[in-house]
Symmetry: C2
Subunit: 329 residues, 2 copies
DNA sequence: CTCACTACTGCAAACGTTCCCAAAGATAAT
DNA sequence: ATTATCTTTGGGAACGTTTGCAGTAGTGAG
């Protein structure tokens, strides 16, 4: 591929001058400029950003690690963050960890080799190896969805405990008294533990409520369906169900209707995330809305600030939520 | 950041030797190797991939341009393609064109500057400026979702004409005779034009059918709703509706039920894409399944082959589809 | 005609690697 | 001891840019 050198030879000037034309610095005679530009056209010169990056020690690259692409949280988050990153004249280097902790660590290392300027990490859980990798990263890291503030890692999280608390409130107010919770992996602090804790915390304060069931599965409709089927067998008096995600809740409602009960009447159901699915299913799902794309934007902005200042101004950002009432509760 | 040079100084050998240790080439005395490795640990050396890329003239970067992140087609496609690209030891450089042709062109150019090894382009429409940009790209381009074979651009597309044809067949068999079509932008050859053409083509062969309505909107539920409301006013005898996407179809069914007709009975409705929404809504939506993530994989594979061979082996790949029958038709 | 000044241009080093080539040291064969 | 062979190491060019510094031309003033 044609380089600065060939353009120089073709137009009969030095590389330096060509470089000046390209970056249109002043101090180049108009006639030379023209000559050079013609030569650039002629041999289809395309600047080599790799060489530039090396020379300038700046890659304009932001590494983004997501656990999976096809989920609301990440897809919308990506939409948001990419707009901010683009606006800042930088590029997104994307990696899919497939919820594998080892891969997350691997990518952080690769990103450092690529000399990214910062890393946005949608984490599913935070173990010591991951914390170590983040600490060792030369590029600043912003964590999304899990709280890393204990380890002094700048994080942007959802207010999961409050959501759980509010869920308890909504279920009780709707008349439920035997309440179950379907979570995911116990290593997922935010989605499983916090949401449950919030729920439990509220229920403890309303004395008359029986202890609740805590069941665990995957992030899928199918898993929600299976979990609920089992739950209905184990605990027939169930009349309120808080699901860690909307998908799980939709599976749950399917199981409920198959057992000849009706969601929203016999059993109040609540999800989290305000997935587009929630407004389309029947009965429509009451849930909590998280501003995923705004979160992506905020995270990107936070990272850019961090890159700029080299020091965290905000170290933890808690995003609020919005209760959405539909038919299921 | 520590470079090869510092490691060399610290361990008292030359840069060359350090380089050999890092790439563990043979011909390094065990004792030297150890010494160097200790020094690497000590000063936390991280290889600079930018310099390597420049030297080796290989970036291991694949540029991917999508019109939006949060849609089934792209999210699942990204999931698929990223797994293949990752497997090949390459990285995804992601750009969101927001369906803006100018941005697509801009990104192709930027990607060329970044010296990506290939580009995967989810295009919405193919105008001459875009074709020109693709032609001028030094990195091979594979087009996804639109047919560029006329311009000799390797493409991977869905069999949209056949889907339209099959839709006609299914609607007629279900007893419809006044059939409407809701598409999108007319510049979107694949989603709007081809699907409509297929439908029209089938209907022409079944003589007794009246001419059909062709209405146009956006890719959203809301737009499908609005279009259908209007369509029902303009053409009350409507009893079959083919929607270019599932989202549009879901909006359509909402409008239908609001006008006191029932989808699947009074009006047969068909979507395209087998969005997760389609199995969750009521009545559930009959549609066509496209293997989006497999398509992403295929596209990535095709691009990798192209990078390898420098010549297109397959220049056009048509993905088949699967009819999914549910309640709406 | 010389001097000083400005406007323009080229040389060469540097960014952090890799890798060819040659040098040096070690070992074995004559 | 000399030569040959093999192993291990270092020097330095190259990848394609940018940039400080120096050099050359041209111009106007004295």
């Amino acid at each position: 591929m044609a380089g600065l050198h060939e353009v120089a030879k073709l137009s009969g000037v030095s590389k330096s001058t060509v470089s000046r034309v390209i970056n249109n610095e002043y101090g180049v005679k108009a006639s030379t400029k023209e000559k050079v530009q013609k030569a650039i056209e002629e041999c289809g010169y395309v600047a080599n950003q790799v060489a530039r990056d090396l020379k300038s020690q700046k890659t304009h690259l932001i590494g983004v690690i997501v656990p999976r692409m096809s989920s609301n949280a990440t897809a919308k988050g990506l939409d948001g963050l990419s707009s901010i990153i683009d606006q800042a004249g930088k590029h997104v280097l994307l990696a899919n960890s497939q919820q594998d902790n080892a891969k997350e660590i691997e990518y952080i290392k690769r990103f450092n080799q690529k000399r990214v300027e910062g890393i946005l990490l949608y984490a599913t859980h935070l173990d010591s190896a991951l914390v170590k990798a983040i600490k060792e990263s030369n590029a600043p890291v912003v964590l999304i969805g899990q709280d890393g503030s204990l380890f002094n890692i700048p994080s942007i999280i959802y207010d999961d405990v409050s959501v759980g608390f509010s869920a308890g409130q909504r279920l009780i107010e709707a008349g439920a008294s035997n309440i179950g919770f379907i979570g995911v992996n116990s290593q997922d602090i935010a989605v499983d533990q916090c949401r449950f804790q919030g729920l439990a915390h509220f229920l403890q304060h309303s004395k008359q409520i029986d202890p609740l069931f805590h069941s665990r599965g995957e992030f899928t409709i199918e898993s929600g369906y299976q979990q609920t089927k089992q739950l209905l067998l184990d605990w027939p008096q169930l009349d309120g169900l808080f699901c860690a995600t909307d998908r799980i809740a939709i599976g749950a409602m399917k199981a409920i209707s198959e057992s000849n009960k009706v969601s929203g009447k016999d059993i109040k159901v609540l999800g989290v995330g305000n997935d587009e699915l929630a407004q389309v299913c029947t009965p429509s799902l009451s849930t909590f809305n998280y501003a995923f794309d705004f979160t992506g934007k905020k995270a990107a902005q936070m990272l850019l600030d961090l890159i700029e200042n080299k020091q965290a101004v905000v170290s933890k950002l808690v995003m609020s939520f919005e209760s959405i009432s539909r038919q299921s509760c």
